[in-house]
Every structure is written in C-alpha cells, then in structure tokens.
Point group: C2
Chain length 690, copies 2
C-alpha cells in the first residue's frame, strides 16, 4: 500500500462540515501508518500504527505563546502537500559509508481558529521505521517575532509500558537509567539517589528525558526523541498517568520563557521509531536523516581519532587539575610521557586537562571569570609539548572547561581558537560543569542550544573538531556539523568512580537505545584496573565490568572521538588485550546490529573504513549470556581469521574481572559461533580477511 | 577641631559593657562630623552633621546574604584604624588641571554577632564637603564566595526635604526630574507619565535613583550617590515615609540575587555631599577622589573631542538608520558632506549611526543576533570615508548599538575593535537600547556593571575611547578609566523630540546636581532649530530653549566628548552664534561655579586647557533671571575682552527662541556684570586675554 490515503482530508474535497477529517499515510514498506485528524472543534491529533497495531493513540498538538499571548490549540485546515524522497548520502564519517533516506512527507497547513489567524504547518515524514514531525511557523503578516510559552505535543501511548528512563532535568543528563513501568516513574526519587551529579534540576516528578526507550508487553520497541535541535530548548516529556500519555515540556530560560523565535521558523523534529525487533531501533538512521546536510563543504580536515588523556589520573587521585597542592598532573614531563605512550601505541592524540590557569577556584560558586582558555600553568610548556608531539606524530587535544560560565567562554572563544590554530591543535574537548552563566539559563535551554551551535560553527571556521561534555543531548546534528563530532551528554565511564551508584553492568546495554540514538558519545571505554584505590587506599569505588567487555565497548559505543580511558601504566598490565585497543578503528564503512535487547545485551559488527576487516563487540548486563553470532554479513567468497577477546570461563565482573582469553579461529560467511559472556562481561572480535 | 574624637570607641579602652559606644570624626575644616555608634545589641549606625546641624540622623547598616544565608545586622567591634590623606593629582583630562584629595579615614572592623563570625570593615572617608563610606569583606576562613541578597544601608534624613528625583528603575535613567517633597515621591506615577522611554523597570513606588539631590528647609543642600561602582549593582533608594529615611535597594539579577562576590571585596562608596552653598555641591570632587587612580599608564592617546553626528537626521525623520525604505542616512555621499562640514568648522570627528547592517529589525523583540558591528551597509564605503576623513583632518566616530543584546556584543567585541584599529577609528559610542540579553539581567545590575567595565578595559587595550549610552549612571570611574570618557545615562537633549513630556527648561539646571555628579554626560547640546517639523510637517515636538542657552550648555554640561547635536544645515542659520560652538574647548585647566541653585539656574566659568581664555555658561529654568557675575577669578594683572552671546531682550523659549545678541565688552578681575536671561534662556561668554 504505497499510496497516500486521504479520507476527506482537510474538507477540501467535500466542502461539507464533517465531524472528523482524516489523512492517512503509510510508509514505503507499509509497516508504519500515520493518521492525522482534525475534529469539528479544530483540535488536531495524530496517531501512529506499526503493522496494524496502534502505537501512538490519537494525540493532540498545539502551542501556548507568550508573545503574542495566544493559545494555538484549535485550527482550520488550509490545505496540504505531499512528497516522497528516496536518496542516499555519504556522511563525512560514521557507522556506514552511505545512508539511505527514504520517506513520504506530508505538510499539513493549519490556521488558528481562536481568532489570531496564526498559520502553522505540521510537517510529517514517514519512514519505514517510524515517524518524524515538526512545526513550521511560516512568514506571515500577523506573526514575526514570537515567544513560546510551551509546546503541547502529546504522545499518547495508552498502556503501562516498560520504560528505560532518566529524570526530566534542565541541567543534567548524567543519571543512571531506571527500568520501570511507566506508572513507576518518579523523577524526584531517582534524582535524590544521585548525590554524585554535581548539578541537578529536576522539575516534575513524572518527567523524563528523551531519548526515551519503551518496550510494550506485546513485544514492540518504541523510541521517542527529537532531531535537529537548533535555536530551541530541549524537550522533556511529562507523564499523564491517567492515560499513559506524555506531553512535551521545554526547558525554560531565566525568566520562564521557552523560546524567542522569528518567522520563518521550524522546530526540531519529534521522532518516534518503532519496531518489533530491537536491532532495528539501533540500525535506524531516521534521526540523522531528519537533520540537514552538512554545512561544511570541504570536510577533509575532519578526522575520527583515537586518543588517550591526562584525565583519569585526576579522577583517581594520583594528580590534580590545579597546580596548587603539589600534585599537578599537566606538567611538561608528565604530558611528555603521555605523548610517548600515544606515539608508541598508535593513538592519534593526547587530551590534556588541567593545563591552564584557574583550576584552584573553578567550581561550585557560579563564578564568571574563571578561565581565559589561553594561559598555561607555568609548569606546562605548551609550545615545547606541541612541537614534541608533532615530532612524535601525535597531536595534543585542547581542553576548554567553561565551569558553566558560558558568557566568559564566548568572550574568549576567538582568542582561544586562534591559540589552537597557532599551535596546530585541531580538536577541543569543551566542558560545562556547574550552573550556567548567564545566570538562570540552563544547559538544555534555547540559549545554550544556540551556544553549542555557535561553538560548532566558529570551530568549523578555525577547522577545529569539537567534543562537548555536559552539553545538551545530541539530536543528529553531526550530519549538519560533522566537526561537532561527539558529546558526553550522558553518564560516561567516569561515573565508575562515583561513590553512590557508580555504573551498573547493564548501563552500556541501555545507552545505545537511549542517549546514543542522537549521536556519538565520548564514553571513554577501555579500563583495565577495576578497583580505584591505586593511589588512594581509602577509595571504595570500582568498575563493574570485565576486561573483555571494556574492549567490546570500543565497537558498541560508537564514537569518532574515542578516548581510551585508563592510565598508560594500567594498559601494560594486559598487553595482549591492549592490542585490540591499538587495532580497533574509529571510522566505519558498514555496521550490523547482530543482537540487541535494551537492558540485557548488544552485539554489533562494524566494517573498518576502506578495509575488509570487521570488528565485533558484544556486551551483556549483570547476567552471563551466550549469543550465537551469524557471520552472513561477510563476503561469502572470502575466508577470514577471527581473533576473539572473550571472558574466561570463570570471569565475573564482581570476583574475577580480569580473566580473559584470546583465541584465533577460522571464519566464513556461512559460519555461526556461540559466544559466552560472563556476568557484566562482553567480547571483542577482530575478523581479518585472509 | 582637627583631631579624632573617640568616645569609648569600640569598647577597647574600658573593657566594660557599655550601652552605646561611639567614634566621632571631623573633617579637616570641621564642617562635617561623622558619628559611628554600636549599641548593646550590636546594631551599628552612623550619623552626619554639617556645621553642627544633623543632616543624617543615626542610620543603621547591614547586609542580608543569600549564600551563606545569614543576616549581617549585629556586630562586635574588633578594632579600628584611622589615617588621613592630603594630596593632589592630575587627571588625564577634566574640569581642572589638578585635584585636591583631602580626607580622614576610619576603618571600623566588625564581626558578625549572630553566629557566623563573618568579618566586615566599614571604611569612612570624611572630606570637607561630605562623607563617603564603603563595606569591605576581607579574606577570612569562613567567607570566600558569597551572594548578596540585599545591602541594608540607611540614610535617615528625618525631615520632609525637597527632592530632585527620578523613579527608582532597573533599566532606565532617562526620566525627567521631579521636584517634590519626599512624601510626594511616587515612582510609578512618574514612570507612567513617560511613554517615550522605550524600556522602564520601576520596582517600588517610593524608590528613587541616585544621584539624589535634596534641599532642606533650613537651606542645606544634600547629594546622595555612590562612587566607584564596580562588580556590584547600582543602588536605588527606597523611602520610608514614616521617618523620612531611605534604604538601599540594589538592582537584582535574573534570579533575584544582587551580587556574586569573592573576598577580598569592597563595595562602591556611598557618598553624602553637603553644603549650605549649592555651588559647593557642583565644585565637589569627592566622588572622583573616592575612585582609584588611572589604570592607564600612558593616557597620551586619550583626547577630548568635539564632534558632529549623522544622528539628528534620523531623529527628525529626514533619514533612517536602516537602509531599507530609501531614506538611509549613512550613505557615502551624505557622510562625506558631514566630514566636509566638520573639517570646515574645526570639529574633531563625525559620529555615524546607521552605518552597519541590522537596523531593519533591531528593536523591541529581545532578539539576540542583531548586529555584528563590522558589516557596513552596501551604500556606506567605510574604507573610502575613513581615508577621506583623514585627508580632511577629521576622524570618524564608531557607533556600536547593541540593542541590549550584550552577549552578542561581547562575542563580537574583539573583532569590532580590531576593525576600528584597522581603520584608525579610536572612539566608539556604544548603545544599549532595549531589554538586556542575558535575559532577565538589567542595565544597572552587577552583570551589566561588569560589562561596561570590560568594554572600557578592552577598549583601552585597543586604545579606544568610549562614550556609553543607555549605560548605568556614572560614579566617577573616569578617574580610573580615563578612556571611558562620557556616558549618556540620563535624559539627553534628544528627548526634545519626545512627544509626551519632552524636556523642560529647568532640566539643565538639575542635571549638574544629579546625573552629572557622577561624571561627564554626552548631552548633545547646540540646537539651532526649535520646531522639529522641518522634514515631517505633522511633528509637534519642539525644543524649549533659546539659542543663547544652547551655547551655554557647551560650558555648563561638561563633557570631554561633546557632540554638537543639530544638523549642519541648521548651523548656517546663525553663523555668528555658531562661532561660539566652533571656539569652545572641551578640556579645561580650571572651573569655577559662579552661581547655582538646583532647578533654577547654573553659571559656570572654565579656563581653557593651556590657554588664558575663559568660557562661561549660564542657564536658567522657565523663569527669566538676572545674575551678577563676579570676574575675580581672572588674573588681576591682565585685561580681557568678553564676547557675550546673550538672549535678546525680547527672547523667550516659547515665542522667540532665536533672538540673541552678540556684544563685546572689556573685562577685568575687578569687574562685575549683570547678565539677563530670558525665560528658558541662557548666556555664553568667551573671555579672551588681551
């Protein structure tokens, strides 16, 4: 059923007054069906079916504007347009060499019925795996500048699904995921359990963030998120437990407004991805497809990188960011050792945190003038290290911690980027730890969303790649800004060192279905030492993983900026396991989701960029697990050798995390093999063409 | 009585528990007496006497902090220090060649008695004409970063004085002054009468701004203001009508806090200037003396300037700032004419507004990305005009209207200043019309106070002079930052074109006692055409002045950046009167206040920098007035010729504003002459040494 079905759509055909008008649109593969309805009162709603099962029951849309002060909740239809697109495009880097973008589009034109005459267009795109829709405010005489009070988009799910959620929050997305029924969502309770998150701003007990991953009792997987979040606040979702519906809640600004806009304006896309096979959630590129093509015409300077960092030393108490106190990590001699290690082990770069003045008084006081981003500590010879790194074929990676003082960062940004260019440092890790200045703004509000975009755009002018930490959750903008390569924007591996909740073994089986639906995460995998009392014997924190799982994360936690997190010295503990980290690429020609179940396991195979080798990562939660891998994605005419980095038979995250085996095995496209993973474990496999 | 009188000061002498302890300090000339008291409950208060008359009755001090959440209103005295200073210093430019700074200082050390142990120092400086005091938060273990909730400084006046006031307001100081008894202060009513002020934020019906000018029934003049406003919000004063006391009210930030501070910190000075002779209010340099010396070591590049502007054309509807619409003022040909006019008439510069892209949509929508400060309109050839101006011995003056989008300005500031340096343009008029971004911040809050300082400091690095409009009221910072030469920060001459209230003839007799106590004002005097319907016959606005008064303002309204406001074409109407504008200097070796009464008249004589000529300006309010001038400030051994630009006998602001006479007269130091001023009139005199 490849055609557009119009049932009295927009009343244009009949001219009669109907109690209900409806447009129905199916995806190319017929799996997804969108219904768009307007009733006699002008209320517009949409519903989504997957394989004839209702996934989103009729859900209303609308806006509350503050300027002009009007409610947009009743409309007249002024017509509609349809179109279809089927194209492929090639990302600058990514999980695949080329991406298919195949959708039908419906532009539904509405006019406010309440008296203002305001026109908005509802734009739907129906893909094989889901639906994206956005609002467009076209140029019109009665509306130029306007202020959003709230967007009232509903997602009426209608049943008490299982949800993988973190609390709705204006400032932090670094929560551990909760897996509960919808009616058990308690954002405040979940937030209260997280003392290790430096800044939390939960606002409603029934609020969650997107990407929100859901599973229905009849086996459907549903992912709700947004795409192309530009010049608009991030969307949280607030549950109405009476009917199991969510309503959008935008992050406010300092005075309680949501967004300052000017026609023409198009909101981000609201995305609903649906499948009865969890693997199809992970293989969906719908969010990426809903973003605009790259604005960078020549992306040749943008290079995926694997690097190490002067970073974990500080987290485990060996060194400090600040110079005062006598434990300064980023001193010339120490960083020189990192450069040597990077060079000897095929890393592209060395991230150096704590290199610049200001760390003695940087956090917790809403202080504005903390860093200037150009003044190194006196024991850090930036010019020498830059040239030393160059000799060694390694690049330093810049660190710009803003401490949340974004006004201060913006006024230094040109100077800071100029220094980077002068030093030929072309990658920056930005950080936004702490309360935002402008005071009253939030990490995920419109002003900050614009800031992240400004940084990406300005960085592009300087040919600089960006890795943003404590930023808003990604929404596929790496298509448009391929130099904005990665974000943290979730609970990263560093939380292994957080005393209260730390990380759970299931965390990495949920992140791909949630945070990573929006884009690459700088997760910093690769930890080889699990008790974190190496330099501070009182420290009780530990990492709940196995070595084999840490290797697997280099494949499952996709990022073009991939930092191996542990200390150089710790890698020497297991040099043969470290070989995998040295070998694993960070850019890919193809990706196959071999197995996946949120909260339980993920298995992903990726084909190395411009090579015939495949790399496979498998991770499990706290349960041991045996997965059968089918290698039918290999070239059937070729023979391969697999090197399998597996949990040892007696491995266990709790008692025996460092037990692994490395074995080689002949592989072909017809082969299936079973992989056993320990509790909290995983497996990494290199498949080399013979 | 030149000594410090200590009556059981601080209880250090007796050791006994006293109900009241007191320190008394007199000024060098004994006219001013400060009493500082602490009672048994730890309440600290001060009082001020002038010639044995109580001017400020016992008034308490204190703070409410938000972080830590403590009230600082009861103290123990931990000792005190005294000092005295008598020095002279030379300003980079100004009303005098050298300034005497002569005061006694008392540092009163207090410890919070409520339990926090917080230490603050109260620092008083007693001058011959008044008292300044500030609070110091020294470095201390229990207080490093802290947030001010409110400063609770009282000024207990104790009687229903006459006040010259404008409404307390977070964003605007462009009000017409009200002259009422204290108990008739009604800020909301006064604000409601001002539809021509684009942005108003009155916050309390009994609130007024400083400088607040007061006159008592027994003939004392009192001026309350502040000095050295840095890293702190501006102070408003809220009247308690029960006892005729004012309490400080600081301008809040976006979340309701007042200031984010870190020890050591010193607040601005609170200033009280007192005299029984109104002239001594105007001749006081106490506020300037309370500011720190210049931070600019080589001020040779800072030059007082007289200039004209591509500006009034837009105000009267001849041209527009924006290019769209076909009336763009700042086009190459038009500005070339301004340069020719400036060159032919000895002006130093030409201000050009509307030169840059963005004016089509710049105001009223809280829009952030309006101007980039470097992109000229296509009909404005900035490179050609710069070199043409240079040929003609004239400099262009840059205009940076921010539209209140200060975040946007700050991120472009370096680039904008670099363009100015490249073009050898070394003066900028900044503007802050509209609601501030960061949204929720105010023009007079701490964040903006810091912004103005940042602009001054960054401008100094680029050797740029600053003239800030819609900025916070000045507090003598031109001593510390002599490149931050002038501000508008009050109702300027442009309000002659405001339909509702416009300007009254008395306005310029009040401004010297109020706004100008803090520093020079870019008032833009010199209007020769009084009905503003020249280009738009429907326009009813008019200027309530005489030509002679407009000339006098060049002397009475001191500014080192002095813009002659009218159109070049209008100056040709009265070429002999225009001679005064061409001749009058903008930098002075000496200044004498010859006569003054707030709201009635001002007469000021100034000696031209490095020359023997004096220039005198007299202005009156709506009443005609005859003032006798005593020329005893002239060199008694020399003879002078005075050129007197006076109102004609039948001149009148309302019916005959352009009637003036020019006569020459022999003058010597022994001479007294009577000058008659018309209603709304004035007189300008050049006294040249023979």
């Amino acid at each position: 059923m490849n055609t557009l079905l119009i049932l009295l759509g927009c009343n244009l055909l009949s001219g009669a007054l109907m109690s209900q008008e409806r447009i129905v649109l199916h995806s190319q593969n017929s799996a997804i069906r969108l219904d768009l309805m307007i009733n006699a009162n002008g209320v517009v709603s949409y519903s989504v079916h997957y394989k004839d099962r209702e996934v989103v029951a009729p859900s209303t849309i609308g806006f509350s504007l503050k300027k002009p002060a009007i409610e947009l909740n009743a409309f007249e239809c002024a017509g509609f347009d349809t179109a279809s697109v089927n194209e492929t495009w090639e990302p600058a880097w990514g999980e695949e060499k080329s991406i298919r973008n195949n959708y039908k589009q419906l532009v539904y034109k509405l006019t406010d019925k309440n008296g203002s005459g305001t026109r908005i267009n509802l734009i739907f795109r129906i893909f094989d795996e889901g639906v994206g829709f956005r609002y467009e405010f076209p140029v019109q005489p009665a509306l130029e500048h306007f202020i959003i009070g709230e967007e009232n988009t509903r997602f009426h799910l209608g049943a008490n699904h299982t949800a993988f959620w973190i609390p709705g929050d204006y400032d932090s997305n670094e929560y551990l995921y909760n897996t509960t029924r919808l009616n058990a969502i308690s954002a405040f309770e979940a937030s209260a359990k997280e003392p290790d998150i430096a800044l939390k701003s939960p606002f409603h007990n029934r609020a969650v963030q997107t990407p929100l991953m859901l599973k229905t009792d009849n086996g459907l997987y549903i992912n709700i998120h947004e795409a192309a979040l530009l010049n608009y606040p991030a969307m949280n979702l607030v549950l109405n437990e009476d009917d199991y519906s969510f309503t959008s809640h935008l992050v406010p600004d300092a005075v309680g407004n949501k967004a300052y806009l000017q026609t023409p304006f198009r909101t981000p896309w609201r995305t609903i991805i649906i499948s009865d096979d969890a693997r199809e959630i992970l293989s969906s590129r719908m969010i990426l497809n809903l973003n605009e093509p790259s604005v960078i015409k020549d992306p040749s300077w943008i290079r995926p990188q694997k690097f190490i960092g002067m970073w974990w030393e500080m987290h485990v108490g060996k060194a400090s960011w600040q110079k005062a106190g006598g434990k300064h990590g980023a001193n010339t001699a120490n960083v020189k050792n990192y450069i040597d290690f990077a060079s000897a082990n095929r890393f592209d770069g060395v991230l150096v945190e704590g290199w610049n003045e200001g760390w003695e008084d940087w956090f917790g006081n809403w202080k504005e003038d903390v860093f200037d981003f150009v003044t190194p500590y006196s024991d850090y010879d930036i010019n020498y290290l830059t040239s030393y790194a160059r000799e060694k074929g390694v690049r330093l990676i810049m660190h710009h911690e803003t401490s949340g003082a974004v006004t201060n960062y913006e006024r230094h940004l040109d100077t800071a980027f100029r220094l980077m260019r002068q030093l030929d440092i072309n990658t920056v890790k930005t950080g936004y730890v702490g309360r935002i200045i402008p005071r009253g703004e939030h990490h995920d509000g419109q002003w900050m969303v614009n800031h992240y975009q400004r940084v990406a755009e300005k960085a592009a002018k300087y040919r600089i790649m960006v890795d943003a930490h404590e930023s808003v959750r990604p929404t596929g903008l790496h298509r448009t800004y391929p130099n904005w390569m990665a974000n943290e924007a979730a609970r990263g591996n560093e939380f292994n060192n957080a005393p209260a909740l730390g990380l759970t073994p299931e965390h990495e089986t949920i992140l791909p279905f949630t945070r990573m639906m929006g884009g690459p995460m700088d997760y910093t995998p690769g930890f080889f030492r699990f008790r974190l009392n190496q330099f501070d014997s009182t420290r009780k924190t530990r990492i709940r993983t196995t070595i084999a799982k840490q290797l697997a994360l280099f494949v499952t936690m996709y990022s073009p900026l991939m930092m191996a997190g542990d200390l150089p010295g710790n890698y020497s503990l297991y040099p043969d396991a470290f070989d995998f980290i040295k070998d694993v690429p960070v850019d890919w020609d193809d990706t196959r989701i071999l197995a996946a179940e949120p909260g339980d396991y993920v298995a992903i195979a990726r084909k190395a960029k411009a090579r015939e080798d495949w790399y496979i990562g498998l991770v499990t939660d706290e349960n041991s697990r045996r997965l059968e891998l089918n290698f039918n994605f290999l070239d059937p005419k070729s023979q391969y050798e697999a090197t399998i980095y597996a949990d040892a038979a007696d491995a266990d995250w709790n008692n025996n995390p460092a037990a692994y085996t490395i074995k080689k095995q002949h592989i072909s496209a017809r082969k299936k093999i079973k992989i056993a993973m320990a509790p909290g474990g995983g497996c990494a496999i290199v498949v080399r063409k013979k």
